[in-house]
Amino acid sequence: MDERPSFDWKWVVIGACVAFTVYIAVIPLVFLLWQSFRTPQTAATPAVWTLGNYAAAYGTAETFRLFLTSIRFASGASFFAFIVGAALAWMNERTNTPFKSIFYALSLIPLVIPSILFTVSWILLASPQIGIINQLLQNWFGLQQPPFDIYSMGGMIWVDGLHYSPMAFLLMSAAFRAMDPSLEESATMSGANVWQVLWRVTLKLTWPAIFATILILFVRSIESFEVPALLGLPVGIEVFTSSIYTAVHRYPSQVGLASAYGVALLAVTTAGVYAVARLSGRGSKYATMTGKGFRPRQIDLGAWRWATAAGFIVYFVMIVVLPFLVLLWSSFQHFYTVPSREALQNLTLDPYRFILTYPDLPSTVWNSLVLSFGSATVVMLVTSVICWLVVKTKIRGRWLLDNIASLPLVFPGIVLGLAIMIFYLNIDIGIYGTIWIMFIAYVTRFMPYGLRYNTTSMLQIHKELEESAAMCGASWTTTFRRIVLPLLKPGLVAGWIYVMIVSIRELSTSILLYSPDTRVVSIIIWELWQNGQYVELSALGVLFIVSLFFLVLIARWVGGRYGIREA
């Protein structure tokens, strides 16, 4: 009969994807833990088991201070970002502030201005020695001391908090928008006044979103590398991420010590990510979406709406206009100087000439593009299979697969770089120092994002759409290729764009993994900063931001053609 055993690609594809996922997600964690219990290996002495790294890391008051500094920095930055973002979100969603529509452009900012350029531009603005704002204020008011010092805890919180405030804005906007106004209206009909409604209904319902937003921001800040490295290290303010970097770059490099720091940082981020997951898991109890199209009532601010609009404009200047203009200004100078009539006469294109004739530029740009396109493609395709297994099947242990693929979420970029570095230093399969190690790092780091994008889309695909393909005689691979992937396209395209853009500006993982041949654009920026080549850095920064901006525009245009929602 026709029950011929035919070769089924289904299990080959699934097996390969699962093996790949488990390999890249679990290996770094295991080796990080392993290395944190080993002594450094030298030519003379082999590595042995030790608790010495933990003793060195946690035996001193130094570490306790490090821990406190990290927590202070992360809490400060996350609260600052939250307050700014939530206030803007409330104004935007619930009030009649004018020009609101342009504020959606805010979601682009953290994507197109990478953290390192944002930090550099604020150094150029508010450094006590060369900061434009300081110098102008000193000139105008005859101050003896520069009024601002960006190289301080306050400066770090300011820059990091400002850079992540658009994220708080987006998260809180979603929370305010999702609230069903009939919940508030029914409280009003029950006799509650405006403040009772706000306190007993609105805030109580938004509370999980508020808490989750603060937690997410906290995890982001404690993982942040660029701000502490550029602003904290020069004045001795160390946090975990910058300590890991210095431990590795010391001679001889203290990989064990860095691992011990990494494990501690991992513990903090794991707790944070776990809390967020628990919170959103319970969120269904607070589900405020009814699925009906509605527009929440807006509060009429009267004349105050011009004040809120002014607040918006000041914010926009702080986060986009000033940082970009200062880079633009310095990119046309021979040496970094404060804007003046004199300086205006000495404008030059030399920095651009330098950058465009920089011998490694073509290979660097090529590396960045290949890495970002390649990792985005691999991440989206592999996670689509993983996501199908998790969402569409009843295979036992699928929740474990989901958690494993999400595991890299708890890895701060620099810790992930460290873990991957350790693994491929110890297990030599010939990829250390090549572009492949960076490729693996990027895929690992951004896999959880791919999974999230795919899951959102996958949940919307009715299982009968696949079953009917099976009833039509299609095999699993045919169904996956011709039904599942095309239907998944909105999530696939949106996720691909996101992963591509975050990979192209990746720094904190690459910084421990690059070699002279495999530098990427963000590494060149880092090196220019280390060499003090500020004007050349500015020129590259301007080019980078403009290219990223067009890349995002093109991507959104392409995405729009596939009918995807805003990512």
Partner: protein, 377 residues
Amino acid sequence: MGRREIRDQGSVVLTVQGLYTEYPNERGEIVRAAQDVTFTVEEGRLFTLLGPSGCGKTTTLRSIAGLERPRAGEISVNGRVVFSSSKGVFVSPNRRGFGMVFQSYAIWPHMTVFENAAFPLEVGDKRYSRTQIRENVMRVLTAVQLDELADRDATKLSGGQQQRLALARALVMEPALLLLDEPLSNLDAKLRDRMRFELKRLQRDLKITTVYVTHDQSEALALSHEIAVMNQGRIQQIGRPRDIYEHPSNQFVADFVGNTNFLEGVVLRPDGPEHYVARADIGEITVRAPRPLKVEERVAISIRPEDVELTETRPSGANVWQATVEQKVFLGEAIDFRVAVGSRPLLSRQHPTLRTPVGGAIFVRVNPEKCVVFSTS
């Protein structure tokens, strides 16, 4: 009758033997869906699995399709075993070659009408040339009157058109068996009535062997050659629509298929061949029972509302009671009365010409032939 007998001897297409299915629910408890389900469907017949939600009818259909794997039993189609727990056979759904229409229709939104219908011919084991695909697809689209919309996006179809496209897609590969999972439940009432006729015409014209799942008893009665009523995983009765309606084999079937009045009673004495007198809460009642009953046996008596006759003047004969009208519901083509015999309410469906007011006196008569008796002891 002659034609029916010829068809009765038609060859059996589908055999389902001793099917048991179970699956874990969200909390990990084992749900027993189908229990010892056994039936056969002959060539060209429309066989309906009817029952309330959770009765196992959909699970049974999905087991035939191969979308679920039963725990035990055997399923064969035209002599080919597609599932057998004892022989360890399980043919995957894409190799069974059955057509299926899903409850949601499962029309692929990223394809046109033509592409949806052509899909089965493109992915199956059998290879078709481009012109063969075109001919087959257009023929089946013409049959469901969608040929003019072939190049339209599938998402731009109305509910009824989507249903017809799903049907066309299921028919295009000329399947041995057509499986329909509540195909009319997503349509509004008017369209549902029209599609019911349409579906019946197509099935009768193409003479395609069909298994139909529904919870709607009027749909089942209207479409089927044969109905299996299911409850709690078990088949309660298999029969022709008229048999099921007029001679339900137990209380569940009588209650589920159509509306009915149940009277509790005890058998008092025999009253001629196949007839008995029972004492019910409305008084003594004469019933016909083809099966012998014992004196003192406890019984339930089912009387359809349309068999509860109401008249304003006292009719002659047995089974007549006096009652008062408690409530009336005007339905247009009929009027539903609720009348009380003593304190016992009875439902009756009447022609709207009967205009006895609420509170008015009325006489109730029930033909003994229309009483269906179940033993409850």
